[in-house]
């Protein structure tokens, strides 16, 4: 299977990556090379094989339903959380205007 330039542009848009014409032109043959190569997986009959869901089988662990059980991952750390924000204002994340 191969992808067209339009399809790559669509994938880039789905992935939220802006790509100019030159970048798209470079990416199309590269993606097609890789996709051609992974096509060989189709040679393997997997009709009776279950897809892997966990590489090391483990029972799912659930944490206790307790607020702030771990102070590092609980709430109340607004300053830490906002410390790396590119545009923090009034204790919130600033974003471009979404609604006119």
């Amino acid at each position: 299977m191969s992808v067209t330039r339009e399809e790559v542009a669509k994938i880039a848009s789905l992935a939220r990556i802006r790509m100019d014409d030159a970048a798209l032109d470079r990416m199309v043959p590269e993606l097609n090379n890789i996709l051609d190569w992974v096509e060989q997986l189709g040679e393997v009959d997997t009709s009776t094989v279950a897809p892997m869901t966990a590489v090391i089988p483990q029972a799912q662990r659930l944490r206790d339903d307790v607020v702030d059980a771990d102070p590092k991952t609980g709430g109340g750390r607004r300053e830490d959380v906002l410390a790396n924000a590119p545009a923090a204002e009034h204790g919130f994340y600033g974003v471009p205007k979404v609604i006119e």
Partner: protein, 499 residues
């Protein structure tokens, strides 16, 4: 006094504990070596004060007669994929440039708790995506090794190339690495050092920048098998903050090290005899068999029939997980933000434009390539043909290993199909670059412990590694077989200092 930078983890720890030298002297020696090796570009940032503070604490604890940790007085390099509280963590990307975590990864915290200090944050392939260390936003790492009679800069391997270069150049006694499809073992092989990827789940992934969550696993890189065992004991352990963390005790691997392999069977997978593999690699594989036979092991043939499908399956699964994991980098909560001017040709300056512009400038080409592949194979209409099929192949690869381990205790294989190559020589050819990991990826897909140990140098004077793969949870058999090779190979080659 001998040059302290020639010492490894165990020698430093024991020397500090017995008072042969102080931890501060060790930290000062390595800090100076790091500073003098800037031309390797192994570090993105250096943290000499962190190393000195940890050293002073180790020296004070010793003076006070307190128990010293497993890594007390040992300054290490930390791959810049581990979040370090108060120290910039970038995953070698522009999008995280300047990001200073307000938390510490579990693995790095475990190491500090064991008495280690940090020399700095080590360069890597961007988001750990690469096999040559040429995708970092902060420039290539140069291997300390060069071909005999040549000044060409060589690849230290990837993605843990800053780690491998620093340990091989003796500017760090040991370093952390992470391995998604071979990123500890391949760089270890390229630079003549040891590195082990433990069983998936041994080391917590909490606070490690995620690439492909079902594959990512941290491990140590050092100059001896024993140093790797000691450091892995310090890194590993159950972590309730990582839902895939193994809830099992950490064995005392270093105390149980034993190179006597009597009664052990070593499996040789003939599917690893692939076209394009250097004759020197095939030769050293033969020598490896002899070494393990000499250590008392019986050599048996095993079949891993789906080996050739492991790499293409990996290049569906890893990008699929990466495209999902890297969706978090959107310019809102942390990292870079690029906001197009309203009314410009490139966008209206809205939220969607901000996401797209931020990710365009924030990610490198290889990262974008993998995000696009991942987005494609997960998209409606292609999910089953690509992703589900790859996960089924993964089941078959794991089944192959399970069948093989019914016949043997540990598998011996080459680590890489070739020795290191000059930087820049494979840049235009992503697929050929991917083939570097052809021998490393199968164990990653199956979640198994696997190690590379240096075995010899080729005719150009470049190191070649041998790989040992064990059953899940059995790091010990991997380390023991690695030790048997280390003792017999007598690998003492060192890069000639040019930096």
């Amino acid at each position: 006094m001998t040059d302290l930078t020639n010492l490894g983890v165990k020698q430093i720890r024991d020397g500090v504990a017995s008072g042969d030298f102080t931890a501060r002297e060790v930290a000062e020696s390595f800090n100076a070596a790091v500073e003098a090796a800037a031309s390797l570009n192994a570090f993105i940032v250096t943290t000499p004060d962190h190393a000195l503070d940890a050293a002073d604490k180790a020296d004070a604890d010793r003076a006070a007669g307190k128990d010293l940790g497993k890594m007390a007085g040992v300054p290490i390099g930390m791959k810049d994929l581990f979040a370090t509280n108060g120290t910039q963590t970038t995953a070698a990307s522009h999008i995280l440039e300047g990001f200073v975590p307000p938390y510490e990864s579990t693995v790095s915290q475990n190491l500090w708790d064991a008495g280690a200090g940090m020399l700095g944050k080590l360069n890597l392939d961007q988001f750990a995506m690469g096999s040559s260390n040429e995708t970092s936003y902060f420039g290539n790492v140069a291997s300390p090794w060069r071909k005999e009679g040549s000044n060409a800069a060589m690849s230290p391997g990837g993605s843990s190339g800053g780690s491998s270069a620093a340990v091989a150049a003796r500017i760090a006694p040991a370093a952390t690495g992470t391995d998604t499809g071979g990123s500890i073992r391949q760089p270890a092989a390229f630079t003549g050092i040891c590195g082990i990827k433990p069983t998936y789940g041994r080391c917590s992934r909490w606070g490690v920048v995620a690439f492909a969550s079902s594959l990512d696993q941290a491990g140590p890189m050092a100059r001896s098998v024993e140093d790797c065992a000691i450091m892995l004991e310090a890194m590993a352990g159950f972590d309730p903050k990582d839902s895939t963390s193994l809830d099992m005790p950490v064995p005392d691997w270093s105390a149980a090290l034993d190179a006597d392999l009597s009664g052990k069977r070593v499996g040789i997978p003939n599917e690893y005899r692939m076209d394009g593999t250097d004759q020197a690699i095939l030769d050293v594989w033969e020598q490896g068999k002899e070494m393990l036979r000499d250590a008392g092991a019986e050599i048996v043939d095993v079949g891993l029939p789906h080996t050739k499908y492991a790499l293409p399956a990996y290049y569906i699964i890893a990008p699929a997980e990466a495209s999902s994991n890297l969706a978090r980098y959107d310019g809102v909560r942390y990292g870079l933000r690029d906001l197009p001017d309203p009314g410009s040709a490139s966008g209206a300056g809205g939220l969607q434009d901000m996401y797209a512009a931020t990710r365009e400038v924030g990610f490198g080409d290889e990262v974008k390539r993998r995000i696009l592949i991942g987005t494609y194979v997960l998209s409606a209409g292609f999910y089953d043909a690509y992703y589900t099929q790859a996960q089924k192949i993964r089941t078959l690869v794991q089944r192959d290993f399970n069948d093989a381990f019914a016949k043997c205790d540990v598998i011996l294989a080459p680590t890489t199909p070739t020795a290191s190559f000059p930087l820049g020589s494979l840049n235009d050819d992503p697929l050929t670059m991917y083939l570097n990991d052809v021998f490393a990826v199968p164990a990653s897909l199956a979640g198994l412990p696997a190690m590379s140990v240096p075995a010899t140098v080729n005719e150009d004077g470049l190191p070649l590694g041998l790989q040992l793969v064990g059953p899940a949870f059995d790091e010990q058999v991997v380390l023991n077989a690695g030790l048997a090779i280390e003792q017999r190979a007598g690998f003492t080659a060192q890069p000639e200092k040019w930096w």
